[in-house]
Point group: C2
Chain length 240, copies 2
DNA sequence: TACGCAAATAATGTTGACATTAATTGCGTA
DNA sequence: TACGCAATTAATGTCAACATTATTTGCGTA
């Protein structure tokens, strides 16, 4: 497959999403991943049309696998297609990102409550390592922000710790891609504050104490804070 | 399209799900709906393989639209496909249905909290009508159960009342089909108890009072009760 | 009999062509 | 110039054939 899009390769950023490296790489799954990343980075703009004929020529593939890829992206909530009219990339308005965070709040606070019950000690050790890495990053860079990838790694670990297939799928496959897309394309949302690290620590503490209620409350707060921050910043930007 | 499957037409039961009747019915969307209903009713058995060649012959369509339909069903969590191996209908184990209800609990309790804020008086009137119908059904049949369709109608109305696209999609498109499938194929789970009606009334009361916290708690209880009931009945059945 | 390997069979993956529908262009008229 | 309609163009929807990969069958051997 000749990729004519300027997007090249996959950063570590995206790899964290796919825990199982796909052994049998079918063409349509390759197209799915390429387009997914191009949409998240904004290389393919929000609201733009995914023309089958144009893309199939650009990427040098037939329309069959391309159509399947578009269906896959639809399942990730990244595109929306209308019969006889084609598919368009989702536009993330302020209203939508706030709704996304409401859904995330509901699912991820439940996820961490389940994680407090279901995570084993190996999982918890891994969480410690991730937080230590965040601490290390802060001290070494004497900064006030932790990078987005590191933030995702922590949350993904917690989500998987719930051991609930439905919740894991809903969050990682249908909500987080949208969140990554939004954050990647809004510089002010790309990194997390030191407050986030403190909250991560509180979440980990609750999990270690096997306290689902505390874990849930803490996670809910954590996500509400992030939501409010987005709301504030976006309104500021609109008033400029 | 010649439907060779014994399943014929769509009952009111299924229609309640699709608020917008699709005007431009493309072949692949027809196939999707036919297969979806056949899977929910159990006409196509859990765990069975959706062979493209066999189905395309049976339904007298080419494999193209059929493959797209299978992708759509995958997005509804009704089938799971493995590259180079094909798609199989999901098997709803006790563990899975409990996980589904955990996800539902998280999302729908949030949905009703949002509905308490966002529903308008017309929406609320409609909820009253739905509950009145349930009351009427009970008195006329002097029974102790309300039919599943009536239960779904109430919950769908509340979910849509949240006005949150992401939550609506996650619940109606990725969780409720699984729940319908489970309930349809487990006679003991097909109808709801009179307790459910009482709880519906409490939920409606909370919405009318514009009390998101009360609404959320009540809905959570309602779903937890349903989950526990399923757990009890399934364990009983296993011990027989 | 049980096991493993190779041939045969059937499935999924992919492609290009055709059919049908939507979008565009350009002409004519008010 | 602005508007509406018809012809053209281009897009999406569908199909049948081919390519590639799994699965099955059946033979031979331990």
């Amino acid at each position: 497959m000749l990729i004519m899009l300027t997007f090249i390769g996959k950063s570590l950023f995206f790899h964290s999403m796919n825990s199982a490296i796909s052994l049998s790489h079918t063409l349509s799954s390759e197209i799915t991943e390429t387009l997914r990343d191009a949409i998240i980075t904004g290389e393919i703009k929000q609201g733009s049309k995914l023309s089958e004929t144009r893309l199939s020529k650009q990427m040098d593939v037939s329309r069959g696998p391309l159509r399947e890829a578009i269906r896959n992206l639809e399942g990730m909530n990244l595109v929306h297609s209308i019969p006889q009219q084609g598919a368009r990339v989702v536009e993330i308005s302020l209203e939508l990102i706030l709704q996304i965070y409401d859904a995330r709040e509901a699912l991820e606070s439940k996820a961490v409550a389940l994680a407090a019950r279901n995570m084993n000690s190996t999982d918890i050790d891994e969480l410690h390592r991730l937080i230590d890495a965040q601490v290390k990053h802060l001290t070494e860079n004497s900064g006030v922000f932790i990078p987005a990838e590191s933030d995702y790694a922590f949350h993904e670990m917690v989500i998987r710790g719930s051991k609930n297939k439905v919740i894991i799928h809903a969050l990682l496959h249908e909500i987080y891609y949208l969140i990554k897309m939004f954050r990647y394309q809004n510089e002010e949302a790309q990194s997390s504050s030191t407050n986030a690290l403190i909250e991560h620590r509180q979440i980990l503490y609750a999990i270690e104490q096997r306290d689902p209620v505390l874990a849930e409350i803490t996670m809910k707060q954590h996500i509400v804070h992030a939501r409010e921050k987005i709301n504030r910043r976006m309104l500021e930007r609109q008033n400029k």
